[in-house]
């Protein structure tokens, strides 16, 4: 795991992760103080939920994807990928080790968010409280299932087409999956269009993994069947993106 350790140390040394940790830890407590929640104490906890998960999404989508893309590009352009390849670390293994290093940082950020949500924004009602940790865990699982393959895709695209492409494409896919698909859905409800319908069918429905509103309105945990269906759906996307990432990933510049 030499490349994993090197990538982990590189990201650690750049220190941009500190901003993300501070944002994830501080903003859920600071932002509600700036909102109307100060006048209505009942709104503090919902505001904290919004602030914590939205901050995590922003950190993951901006810092996470950017870091993954940067590492993929650097590995191919710096000669490191070629060096590791000759020592027996295959391209698949290199992609995995770079992905794992970035994932470790995001896993910590996700855990911090879930802990804040669990212990600093849990409802007072005992029944709602029992469902809280289940919903939080479900959210963590779905969030990581969505972001993990995107990290791999950002790394792989950046190794072949450059860091800007790797970052911009995955950022676009994420925003489209979170918001664009919803607009498309509304459009299709108003007017049926076979082309748009096909596009919608093959679009990643990341909005289903965003359980912030469910936490906000205390709607309770997802039913087990719905959760497993969504898990399977995102595992399917993960499999497709993993295959695409491996096809795109390269360890050195073209000859």
């Amino acid at each position: 795991m030499r490349l994993f350790r090197l990538t982990l140390a590189t990201i650690f040394q750049r220190k941009a992760w500190v901003i993300c940790v501070l944002a994830v830890v501080v903003l859920p407590f600071a932002l509600p103080l700036l909102s109307s929640a100060t006048e209505k104490p009942l709104l503090v906890q919902p505001a904290r939920i919004l602030a914590s998960w939205d901050t995590l999404w922003i950190c993951a989508v901006i810092w996470g994807l950017f870091t993954a893309a940067r590492e993929g590009e650097a590995n191919a352009q710096s000669g490191r990928g070629e060096y590791f390849l000759t020592t027996g670390i295959s391209a698949t293994r290199q992609l995995f080790e770079i992905w794992l290093a970035v994932f470790c940082f995001l896993a910590v950020l996700t855990s911090l968010t879930a802990l804040i949500c669990q212990f600093a924004a849990a409802p007072a009602d005992p029944v709602e409280r029992t469902m809280w940790w289940v919903l939080n865990t479900q959210y963590v699982v779905l969030f990581l299932l969505v972001i993990s393959p995107l990290l791999a895709l950002a790394t792989a695209l950046a190794s072949r087409f450059g860091g800007i492409t790797g970052f911009a494409v995955t950022l676009g896919i994420t925003l489209y999956g979170l918001y664009g698909v919803g607009y498309l859905d509304n459009l299709l409800k108003l007017e049926h269009h076979p082309m748009l319908h096909s596009l919608w069918l093959f679009s990643p429905q990341y909005r289903f993994a965003d359980l912030t509103q469910r936490l906000y309105f205390k709607s309770g945990a997802l039913p087990a069947s719905a959760f497993w269906t969504m898990t399977l759906y995102f595992v399917g996307i993960l499999a497709v993106y993993t295959g695409l990432s491996r096809l795109c990933f390269r360890t050195k510049l073209s000859s």
């Binding site: 090197l6 140390a9 040394q13 710096s78 060096y83 000759t86 020592t87």
Partner: protein
Amino acid sequence: MKSPQTNPLLPSIHLDAGLEIGYGSPLARFGQAVILGGGTHFLLARNGRGKTTLLRTLARTLKPVAGHFGMEGFTQYLPEDLRFDAEITPAMVFRMLLPKARLQDALDLAGRIELDVKKPYGRLSTGNRRKTNLLVAELSVKPDSGNILLLDEPFSGLDAFARQVFEEIWHASSTNVLRLVSCHPDYDSMEMPSALMIEDHNARYLNGHAQTWSQLKTLLN
């Protein structure tokens, strides 16, 4: 042709006659088979004649145009332009990449060749970056098996003292490490008892105990 290695644990490179290297079209061709064993072998050619291409072919990151070759040993190819992240220090690179048992050796050696291991890689001079890369490769050598180090211009930017230190290391580990070193020597008396030379699209092997750069450079076109 050099005498072949008989012990399978010792490193070796077998270049078959007819091996052609290049990017699509051949840059150089081996007219005769060459077998290299443990020790240091220099790779000499003028710019653009195929030194890096041969090293990358042997490292299996580039396919030969034609022909075959074989390698025995744990291989490392150190590209000339290898670099680490600008923010990371050589000490961190060593900690992350080297076996724990070799870390202190790396730090001691770095001290000996005056490499500041606490300075960020991006602020190191070209020579000091080269020292970092070479230390990684040299201390990643596996002591209990054969090793092949393919070094692309490791001396460029390196000061004479550091170069001498590395040459001493090379001499001491010549039994289980085969080094193929591409370089442009800068002094005539440099001894090169074993050299692969590429000139006029032909690659050939030259050896001799008294062979020096001053004799070999006259053969380069």
